[in-house]
């Protein structure tokens, strides 16, 4: 999340050079992160890396996400072909990892389920910024699909800048305990 936050602010060339360094470092690293549960965070924007940090302080590991300010931002690059640049950018806006505002929601749900399989996710934390209504409408439908796939969901209504303290920490803690019980 910190890396992505930097990408929004830095000149792309500079950011990309640092990102390459980071990728090389990660590839050669043998550090592992044992955890109580592998989690995915879904929902709208998140502008506060401390939210993820506080989840990980509880010894869970956020292995993937489906956030506007993360996976949805980088997962489908603009396809550079012979078409005019504006057309290529427009095509990307219409066809990238869909935001909940897109109808129908099936593609969004399918891609979430694919990420869950790819990253061996144990549970999903849905964090929806208050008043981001498209995500709130999708939640019952998504929860139902995840339930069918055997993936528990913790739904959190948050405000911009919400950290993972207080009540949220307690709820995440309870969710992790439930996931651990389920694993046994």
């Amino acid at each position: 999340m910190e890396v992505l936050s930097a990408s929004f602010r830095m000149p792309k060339e500079l950011f990309n050079s640092y990102l390459h360094e980071l990728l090389d470092e990660l590839a050669s690293s043998d550090i592992t992160h044992p955890s109580r549960a592998r989690l995915m965070v879904t929902g709208s924007t998140m502008d506060n890396p401390e939210f993820i940090q506080s989840i990980e302080e509880l010894e869970a590991l956020v292995v993937t996400d489906e956030l506007c300010t993360s996976t949805r931002y980088w997962s489908d690059p603009v396809v550079l072909d012979d078409s005019p640049p504006l057309e290529a950018i427009s095509r990307r806006y219409l066809n990238n990892f869909p935001c909940a505002r897109m109808v129908p929601s099936d593609e969004r749900f399918d891609r979430i389920l694919q990420l869950i399989r790819d990253y061996k996710v144990d549970g999903v934390i849905s964090q929806i910024i208050r008043y981001c209504v498209p995500y709130a409408h999708d939640l019952p439908l998504l929860t139902e699909r995840l339930k069918k796939a055997g993936i528990p969901v913790l739904a959190l209504d948050v405000e911009y800048g919400t950290s993972g303290s207080g009540q949220i920490r307690t709820r995440v803690q309870a969710f992790l305990e439930m996931l651990e019980t389920k694993k046994r």
Partner: protein, 422 residues
């Protein structure tokens, strides 16, 4: 209540409208147009209830959906939001309906009418539709409620994508969307679109819009002839009977009554002390109360520029589908709730303030509607520039737990005192 008991809700609703029409007829000063309005609602829900017996399909559709197409294909329309709230309000089931929406996992910031729509589908308190139709006109709640309705009813659905701007390219796009929808409906119902019938409905829609304009003109009179109770009736006429003889019959009756009152110099309230502009809609469950309160305080809503004043534009019966598309750009609500708040919308507000000689404006700030609440500051400022005070009342249009009658009375009385002191 159980689902089985809720299945009788449509019967109860029909009986309620029969009763309301009968009671209205017995009141010496009741408007004949209001009696007709109740009769039309009775007719609307009787059609819904009896559709399957008559081998017709019921299509549930969201607000501002082009239901003319359904009428032209002999499909029975069921206006989702209106049906939900007429059911809940008339039968007093608002709390149960909203609680069911919450139980489904819908967050409280979702607009209450749409939480209620999901609730009422889950409770099976409306007849199960055969088809679900929804669109992004007028907001992201309408755009996003359809898939859950499909899931809850197990019915197939079609999403109609409306563009924001009225440009030739976007008009072509919308006509293409409508063509796709007609194909979808033909496939699902096995019936063909009757284009001649649709042309007739377009001609009636022109007449309907013209009647709306005449009614708006009559309301400029001092004293103004229409009570606030007529506001929701005006909206429902097009919501439920777009381009239908029923809408023409109701609007003609209302127009004639208002014309007679204007000729006789009669107002909806007497004496008329405060002429008001209404912005957005007041809580539906308070309409009767507001009618009595306004009567007592001498207040009358003379204009609702963003809800009852249609934009300028012509429909052509020779091009029915293009006209249905065009109509969606003329509907009054579009100006403040869909796409950018245009300079024209702001001019309509300031021109309306002048032409209708208003003393003040009331903005019913429905907390679940981010689209309209975002306009409050701008509208307050432009009204302030022409020295018109605006009262903003935070409210919910269907949830009666948000405002009490006493609170509304206090706020209005304080505002009217301010107007009187000016």
């Amino acid at each position: 209540m159980t689902s089985t008991e809720h299945k009788k809700d449509t019967d109860l609703l029909i009986r309620s409208y029969q009763l309301l029409a009968r009671m209205n007829r017995l009141q010496p000063n009741a408007r004949a147009s209001q009696t007709l309005y109740f009769q039309l609602l009775e007719k609307y829900y009787t059609r819904v209830r009896e559709a399957h017996q008559e081998d017709k399909m019921v299509a549930s559709h969201t607000v501002f959906f082009p239901a003319e197409i359904l009428y032209a294909m002999d499909i029975v329309p069921m206006h989702t939001e209106m049906t939900t709230w007429l059911n809940a309000l008339i039968l007093g089931e608002q709390a149960e309906v909203l609680a069911k929406g919450a139980e489904l996992g819908l967050a409280p910031e979702i607009c209450s009418p749409h939480r209620g729509v999901a609730g009422i589908f889950a409770l099976e308190a409306i007849p199960r539709p055969d088809i679900i139709l929804w669109s992004n006109l007028i907001c992201d709640n309408t755009a996003k409620c359809g898939e859950l309705m499909m899931e809850l009813s197990g019915s197939p659905g079609f999403f109609l994508d409306n563009p924001f701007q009225d440009s030739p390219g976007e008009m072509d796009y919308l006509v293409g969307e409508l063509e796709d929808m007609v194909h979808f409906l033909e496939e699902k119902t096995g019936k063909k679109m009757d284009w001649d019938k649709l042309s007739e409905m377009v001609a009636l829609t022109t007449q309907e819009i013209e009647l709306h304009r005449e009614i708006s003109e009559l309301r400029k009179a001092v004293p103004s002839p229409m009570s606030i109770t007529g506001y929701l009736e005006l909206l429902s006429a097009d919501y439920m009977f777009p381009g239908q003889p029923e809408a023409i019959q109701y609007l003609t009756q209302l127009r004639d009554e208002l014309k007679e009152m204007v000729q006789q110099g009669k107002g909806a309230v007497s004496p008329e002390r405060f002429r008001l502009m209404t912005l957005f809609v007041p809580p539906m469950y308070l309409i009767s109360y507001l009618g009595k309160l306004f009567d007592e305080l001498g207040a009358v809503s003379v204009v609702e520029p963003l809800f009852t004043c249609w934009s300028e534009g012509k429909l052509d019966p020779a091009k029915p589908l293009e006209s249905v598309a065009k109509k969606s750009f003329l509907i009054p609500e579009r100006r403040s709730m869909y796409g950018p708040l245009s300079q024209q919308a702001l001019r309509d507000i300031t021109d309306g303030a002048e032409q209708y000689k208003i003393d003040g404006a009331i903005y019913w700030a429905f907390m679940g509607c981010r689209h309209t609440c975002a306009t409050i500051k701008v509208i307050k400022e432009i009204l302030s520039e022409i020295d018109v005070p605006m009262l903003t009342i935070d409210c919910d249009i269907v949830d009666p737990t948000i405002n009490s009658e006493e609170e509304i009375r206090d706020k209005l009385e304080q505002f009217f005192e301010l107007l009187e002191d000016r």
